[in-house]
């Protein structure tokens, strides 16, 4: 049996003495599609950065198998969209380590063109990143991760601040990549629109509150421990649907709801 791509054992991380992650243990196996949910400040982004190796935890161990290549896709809100770079320049950044010439070789240019075509970005290589739609912008950073030969894709809130159509595009893309064999971990605030449709869900609030299939994890008790607020959960077409507060008070479902892709069937 293949071991996990990344494994965290009792990982603790803190910023300026304030703990952000406490004794988190988690393993990501090949072929998994994992969602991480939790309130703002619960440590979701920090968890991804620890998995990616961008942060070294203050305690605990992080183990990656030798062959694991991680592609990290940052939150679009953190990207400097005014930076003077074209789509091709961003994607080619994947080929930075150990390269000492500024220009790309013919083989490199062909690889970039292939990955851009695969993600539906063919012909956009010379465009500035700001000139793309929200979904295309997200794809540029996924393309960079893929060009790196990532076996594990880490995405920090890939559908944050995007419209329904863009969210749909991004989720279709991730579904396709997962079907192609890529392991994926993403963070999200969208319980109904995304989290409930993933095969595995981790509820985080500095500690792992629950870890399992959405049907097992999305319960009023777990959500209250995760978010510190009472939420109602009903089952619809075999999937949990979360309501903030009580349905009697006509509260909206938590997250996008409705127009979704079922990602549970993949692999």
């Amino acid at each position: 049996m293949t071991g996990p791509l990344v494994r965290l054992d009792s990982v603790t991380h803190a910023f300026a003495g304030t703990p952000v992650l406490e004794a988190v243990s988690l393993a990501i196996s090949p072929g998994e599609f994992v969602g991480v949910v939790g309130p703002s400040g619960s440590g979701k982004s920090t968890l991804l950065k620890v998995l990616a190796g961008a942060l070294v935890p203050v305690a605990g161990t992080v183990t990656r198998t030798g062959s694991t290549r991680i592609g990290y896709v940052p939150q679009v809100e953190t990207v400097n969209w005014d930076f003077p770079v074209t789509v091709r320049e961003v994607v080619t950044m994947a080929r930075t380590a150990g390269r000492w010439l500024p220009w790309s070789s013919a083989a490199e240019r062909a690889e970039v063109a292939t990955v851009l075509d695969r993600l539906g970005l063919g012909g956009l290589g010379r465009r500035h990143i700001r000139e793309l739609s929200g979904g295309q912008q997200q794809r540029v950073f996924v393309a960079r991760a893929l060009l790196r030969g990532a076996s594990l894709l880490l995405l920090d809130e890939p559908t944050s601040g995007v419209d329904v159509r863009t969210r749909h595009d991004v989720l279709h893309l991730l579904d396709d990549l997962h079907r192609d064999g890529l392991s994926i971990v993403l963070t999200t605030h969208d319980l109904n629109g995304i989290a409930a449709h993933l095969p595995r869900l981790v509820c985080l609030n500095r500690q792992v509150v629950a870890d399992g299939a959405p049907g097992d994890v999305i319960t009023p008790a777990v959500l209250e421990r995760t978010y510190g607020a009472r939420m109602e959960v009903i089952s619809h077409a075999g999937m949990p649907v979360v309501f903030e507060g009580s349905r009697d008070h006509h509260d909206a479902p938590k997250g996008g709801g409705g127009d979704v892709i079922d990602l549970r069937s993949a692999r």
Partner: protein, 281 residues
């Protein structure tokens, strides 16, 4: 103006030296300034030049070679700023303010204690391009060649680290080393150009060419080339205007850059201004 009159200053060696040095200094600042501006550290040129001035004074007091002492002082300041910013303890602008003013204050304190100097620091403060000698040309040529080599061979590393340092680190780029190398190049560039432009004007030489280039392109590679060319052009034209108009050379070079900025700003229209609007100048 007749051709004879126009070419007259080139008959003087001091002017030819000045033209070479001013053009090289402009190009060097234009090249390095791209990274300075895109890292949101436009104030670093101003701060580091003050810090290096403090180092030059301290070196003089302790009988150390002024250039070497200033270089070490400037590099150490740049490394400290980079280190503090990387840890995100405080923002880059605040780190520059704290480190460089402290380094400058040490120089001021030493001046007040010693009260007399064998060294004249006027050239460092205000720039004296007409006083440059062949040795100065060699120094700035070597520093320029070094900066070009670093930007050429470290092009990809510098780009990734400037654009997205966190992801660069996870992608196998040693961002701490890249930042340290950039700090060294920046400190050396400021030291090499300080005698030409002066402490007070060097920040403008680092910032104006990349800002002009940013208005003209959305490609990083083209921005590097345009900024270097604009910096060299401003150095050349500014130096020439300095002679013809009898204006201080540092001020003339910077005012030429400001004029280019004004023209490009007016001509390129709203889209270019929007690009510039979010650049951390």
């Amino acid at each position: 103006m007749s051709w004879e009159r126009a070419l007259e200053p080139f008959a003087f060696e001091f002017f030819r030296n000045g033209m070479v040095v001013a053009t090289l200094a402009g190009a060097l600042c234009g090249l390095i300034g791209v990274y300075v501006v895109l890292r949101g550290m436009s104030y670093i040129g101003h701060g580091l030049s003050h810090s290096i001035f403090g180092g030059a004074v301290a070196s003089s007091v302790f009988g150390i070679n002024v250039l070497a002492g200033a270089a070490i002082w400037g590099f150490a300041s740049a490394l400290m700023i980079s280190g503090i910013t990387r840890r995100r303890a405080i923002g880059g602008d605040a780190a520059i303010g704290v480190i460089t003013t402290a380094a400058f204050a040490i120089g001021v304190a030493l001046i007040s204690v010693r009260r007399s100097f064998t060294q004249n620091f006027d050239a460092l403060l205000f720039g004296n391009v007409l006083g440059v000698e062949r040795g100065d040309i060699v120094v700035i040529a070597l520093v320029s060649a070094g900066a070009v080599a670093v930007v050429f061979f470290g092009y990809r590393q510098l780009l990734f680290t400037t654009f997205d340092p966190e992801v660069a680190e996870t992608s196998g780029v040693r961002t701490a080393r890249v930042d340290a190398l950039f700090s060294l190049v920046l400190a050396m560039s400021i030291i090499a150009t300080m005698r030409i432009l002066g402490v007070t004007l060097i920040a403008a030489a680092l910032v104006l060419p990349p800002v002009v280039a940013r208005m003209l392109t959305s490609s990083f590679a083209r921005m590097l080339l345009i900024s270097t060319a604009v910096g060299a052009g401003c150095g050349f034209v500014g130096m020439y205007a300095s002679f013809q108009l009898d204006v201080a050379s540092g001020a003339s070079i910077v005012l030429t850059g400001a004029a280019v900025f004004g023209v490009v700003y007016a001509v390129t229209g709203a889209s270019a201004r929007r690009r510039l609007g979010h650049t951390h100048v």
